[in-house]
Symmetry: C2
Subunit: 198 residues, 2 copies
Amino acid sequence: MPDTPPARRGPYAKTAERRLEIIRTATAVFASYGYRGGSLRQIAAQLGLPLTTLMHHFPTKSALLEAVLDQEDAADPDAEGRARHDGFMPMVLGIVERNLGRRELVRMFSVVSAEATAPDHEAHEWLLRRYAAVTVDYGRMIAFDQAEGRIRSRRDPVQLAGLVVSAWEGVQIRWLADGTDPVAAMRTLLAALLDPAD
Amino acid sequence: MPDTPPARRGPYAKTAERRLEIIRTATAVFASYGYRGGSLRQIAAQLGLPLTTLMHHFPTKSALLEAVLDQEDAADPDAEGRARHDGFMPMVLGIVERNLGRRELVRMFSVVSAEATAPDHEAHEWLLRRYAAVTVDYGRMIAFDQAEGRIRSRRDPVQLAGLVVSAWEGVQIRWLADGTDPVAAMRTLLAALLDPAD
C-alpha cells in the first residue's frame, strides 16, 4: 500500500531527518569555510532554521563536527570483507570510484584534515585516531594479500598502508582542484607501491 | 664598522620589513584558520597594529593572500639546476628536508590548497596555475633523468610528475598531523614510482 506512511514516521523519525539535514548542510559549510571558518549561525541560516532549533539538535559546533566526521565510517562497515574477497587494491579503487559521487564530503574531509593537523584543533585527536586506525586496518589487509600472493612487495605492510593513505589524500585534493582522474592515479600508485600479482 | 647602520635602512627598508612581518603573521593565521576563516582584523591584532596601518600595506585580504602565496616560489629559484646536477629525486628530497624547518608555511599551503579546490575560492586560479607549472617543470626534470639513465621508469614523465606532486601533498599533511617522517615516506614513494638507477 504505497499510500500508507512508513511506520517509523513520527516525532523520532522527524528528529532523525532533521539531524541528517543539518549534518548535510554542515558538511557543505565546513567544506567551503573549514571548521574554524564555518559557524552554527551560518549553517542555521542556510537551512532557514532559527539558531535555537539547530542548537536543540547540536548544542555546540564541536558536537556537530563529531556527527559530520562520523558519517564516513558508518557508511562503509565492510571494507575488510571486500578486501579479503577481491583483494586490497580493488577494494581501495572501489572507494576512490565511489568518492567520485561524494565531492563535497571528500572536500570537507580534506579541508578539516588539513586544519586539524594543528595540535590545538578541535578535530586533532579525531585525525590522529583516524590515521592510526586506517593504517592498522589497511596494514592487516595488505599482510593478508602478501600471504595470499596477491601483493608481491615484501615491504612492511603497515609502512605500505601508511604510504597508501598519504598518497590517497593528495590524489583526492588534486582531483577536487582540477579533475585529474583519481582512479587512474591511485591505480598507478598502488601498482608501483604494492607490485600486485596480475 | 659594525656600528654603522646598513645603508639601506630608511623609510623604504622599514616598509619592506613591515611587509615581511605582516606576511609572516598572515601565514600563521591562514595556517590556523584558513584563508576564509582568517581576517585582516585578526592579523592586525596579532601584530599589535591598527587595522588601518595593515591596510596601508595590503588594502584587501586577497592582496595579502597573493603576497603570502608568492613567498614560496621566490624562495627556490634553482630547483631545476639542482635536479640537473644531482638528479630529480635528491632535489625533491632536499626540499622535503628543508620543509621540516618551515612547518607553519607548509601548513598554510596545505590548508589554503584544500580550501582552494573550490572553484569559487579566491586562490583557485593560483592553485590550478601552481599544479600546472610544477607538473610541467617536474615532468621536464624527470624526462632529463630518464634520458640520463638516472630514472629507469619508462612511464610518461608528466604523468609521473603529477603523481609525485599529489603523493607529496598527502605525505606533508600526514607529517604535520602526527610527525610521520616525510623524508623516509617520499624516498620510498619516489623509489617505487621512478625506479632510480642506484
